[in-house]
């Protein structure tokens, strides 16, 4: 074959090789492992069929993990989107105050998640934390942010929302700025109230942005790991244990590789399914220009 025909393939070969090596192969290997029992060191992997999956659903701990993950994702995504949309609506103005606030809101996004976790651990410390100091200032009792099972998951949501707002706000502002100004003027002349203009014009015009941020946020939240690993290690009493942390624990602490791979396959399946569902259901309602 002539070189000019081969060249395009040669050009994309590095990307394809890397993609296969670090993406396709691990996924395939994970699926393979999920049908086996293996302790990470022994040379023989014992084929067990669907047994890993069966025990996964039989485990009460895993059902809790699923619940935690869904609650965490739903809360994080919805809160982040609502708060950043409100912020974006407020910040979508020119002026030094606005750009200052915009910069301030965005800064958490560039801080490493590990640092963020450490920072919030300190802020949320039951005895010496700044949050409780504030509560005390108003005469309120201490809250055991991370050490009480009833609040620990929400505390993690707060951290995720705090970190996510900046990026989301920025994307929302970009979306808002792409809406032509004269459309709003036409609405003014049509005697449209502020609320009606928002629901009937702004929000539909923002739907592609909203759609994008929901999907990205959902996939990210489903894979939350760093904050949990650093701040709570899934505790107390499994209350903050989520999917990826569960996989990590079973794989690399208990060395039940097959079992943890089965959970990984399930995660892949759920995230894939949700994404497809989103595209099928929401894409119809999203307005693309």
């Amino acid at each position: 074959m002539a070189w000019h025909k081969l060249r395009p393939y040669a050009m994309i070969a590095p990307a394809i090789v890397i993609f296969c090596l670090f993406f396709i192969y691990p996924i395939g290997y994970m699926i393979y492992l999920s049908f086996h029992e293996w302790n990470f060191v022994s040379p023989d992997k014992q084929f067990v069929g669907m047994q890993n999956f069966a025990s996964l659903f039989g485990e009460r701990e895993f059902i809790e993990v699923m619940q935690n993950t869904f609650i965490y994702t739903a809360l994080t995504v919805s809160l982040t989107i609502v708060i950043s949309l409100l912020l974006a609506l407020w910040l979508n103005n020119n002026g030094s105050v606005y750009s200052l606030v915009q910069g301030a809101v965005f800064s958490p996004h560039i801080i490493s998640l590990v640092s963020v976790s450490m920072l919030w651990m300190w802020l949320m410390d039951t005895d010496y934390g700044l949050l409780n100091w504030f509560l005390n200032l108003f005469g309120l009792a201490n809250v055991s942010w991370l050490t009480d099972p009833s609040t620990s998951l929400f505390s993690l949501v707060i951290v995720a929302v705090w970190k996510g707002i900046g990026f989301n706000t920025l994307i929302f502002i970009a979306g808002l700025q792409s809406i032509p100004r004269d459309m709003y003027e036409a609405a003014q002349l049509d005697e449209s109230s502020k609320a009606r203009t928002f629901w009937k014009l702004t929000l539909p015009m923002l739907s592609p942005t909203l759609f994008f941020l929901t999907i990205i946020g959902m996939i990210n939240s489903f894979q939350v790991f760093e904050t949990i690993s650093i701040m709570t290690q899934g505790g107390p009493i499994n209350s903050t244990n989520t999917f990826v942390y569960y996989i990590y624990e079973y794989g690399f602490r208990y060395f039940k590789i097959g079992y943890s791979s089965a959970a990984g396959v399930l995660l892949l399946f759920i995230v894939g399914l949700l994404t497809i569902l989103y595209f099928k259901l929401l894409a119809k309602r999203v307005h693309y220009r």
């Binding site: 003014q188 049509d190 009937k200």
Partner: protein, 359 residues
């Protein structure tokens, strides 16, 4: 229906006064065109009437109502924007209906109005389409329908035809004129295109640097301009404006303050042979360029008095290099030092007139 009055209106943007003490009366039922070069303040004036921009000082009256503090939606006006400003997420019907729903017009009445209006503008088959599925002309119709359906007292149009191609623009121009006749509502129309202004308006307001240069009917503006700006803004090619000193020898003595002399390209008689009409200016020059436009030919002629544009409706003088130009005295306009028209200047008809020809 209503007349619009602007009293001592000014507008300051970032310490720069873009509109200076504007006084303007737009007659009830008129088709008034605000025209001027970009940055002359015509759009700002329009937007102040619409209420989209707040004037820095002065009063705006629509009908018998002082609207200084009235929001745009309550001014009983409708506006057509340059980029149509349709609501992209709504259907054509939704676009037309939006304002009616906001005004709490009952459903059956809305349906009736939409049916009626969409028939007038020819959109009946497109009511369920989204704006992005429509052509430019159709979008413009939707914008018009959205404005018309509110039955406003005043229509405000901000360069509505500038995004259309030449053919469609001509067609829409005619349609707008007919629409104005049919509705009898006051139309205020902004354009930078003098052809549009001349062909559509029954009154033209020429603006420059935030000040009114002249307000009159199209023919008055054309035949009786107030100043050099108006004279050279209206008409293509523009009026020839020549420094009086360069033409002094070609003209008999004048009584009055004259700095510039102007004459329209179409009032020049162009010929290859000498002409000796005693009541005309005679110039001799060399043809620099020739633009043959079919019905007319535009010559650029270099003369002693400067470069002169001539428009001629006779067969083009193809091979001729040197031509003689003749401009009748009564077609001359005189302007003073400030560029203002000096209407009192007359040419003393002393016979015999010294005729200056060429070499």
């Amino acid at each position: 229906m209503a007349e619009i009055i602007l009293k001592n209106v000014s507008k300051v943007f970032n310490n720069e006064e873009v509109i200076k003490d504007l006084n303007l009366k737009i007659h009830d039922g008129s088709f008034t065109v605000l025209v001027g070069p970009s940055g002359c303040g015509k759009s700002t004036t329009l937007r102040m009437i619409a209420g989209l921009e707040k004037q820095s000082s002065g009063e705006i009256w629509i009908g018998d109502q002082l609207v200084n503090d009235t929001p745009p939606g309550k001014r009983n006006i409708a506006m057509v924007f340059q980029n149509y400003a349709l609501y992209p997420t709504m259907t054509v019907k939704g676009n037309i209906e939006f304002g009616l729903i906001n005004k709490k017009v009952p459903r059956h009445e809305r349906e009736e109005l939409i049916r009626e209006i969409s028939e007038i503008v020819g959109l009946t088959d497109y009511l369920n389409k989204k704006p992005q599925q429509l052509s430019g002309g159709q979008r413009q119709r939707v914008a018009l329908a959205r404005a018309m359906v509110k039955k406003p007292k005043v229509f405000i149009l901000d360069e509505p035809l500038s995004n259309l191609d030449a053919k469609l623009r001509g067609q829409m121009r005619t349609e707008l004129i007919q629409l104005h006749k049919r509705l009898g509502t006051t139309f205020v129309y902004v354009t930078h295109d003098q052809v549009e202004a001349m062909s559509m308006g029954d009154e033209i307001v020429i603006l420059n640097k935030g000040e009114i240069q002249q307000k009159a009917s199209p023919m008055t503006v054309y035949h009786d301009p107030n100043n050099i700006f108006t004279a050279s803004f209206i008409g293509t090619p523009a009026m020839n404006i020549i420094d009086y000193r360069l033409m002094k020898d070609d003209l008999p003595a004048l009584n009055g303050d004259v700095k510039y002399v102007g004459f329209r390209p179409e009032n020049i008689l162009i010929s290859r042979t000498e002409n000796t009409d005693p009541h005309s200016v005679h110039l001799f020059g060399e043809v620099v360029t020739r633009e043959t436009l079919g019905s007319e030919t535009i010559y650029t002629v270099k003369t002693n008095a400067g470069v002169i544009h001539c428009k001629s409706f006779i067969e083009p003088l193809d091979s001729v290099r040197h031509v003689r130009l003749q401009i009748p005295y009564e077609k001359l306009y005189f302007f003073n030092n400030q560029g203002e028209r000096n209407r009192s200047v007359t040419i003393k008809r002393i016979e015999p007139v010294l005729v200056k020809g060429g070499r």
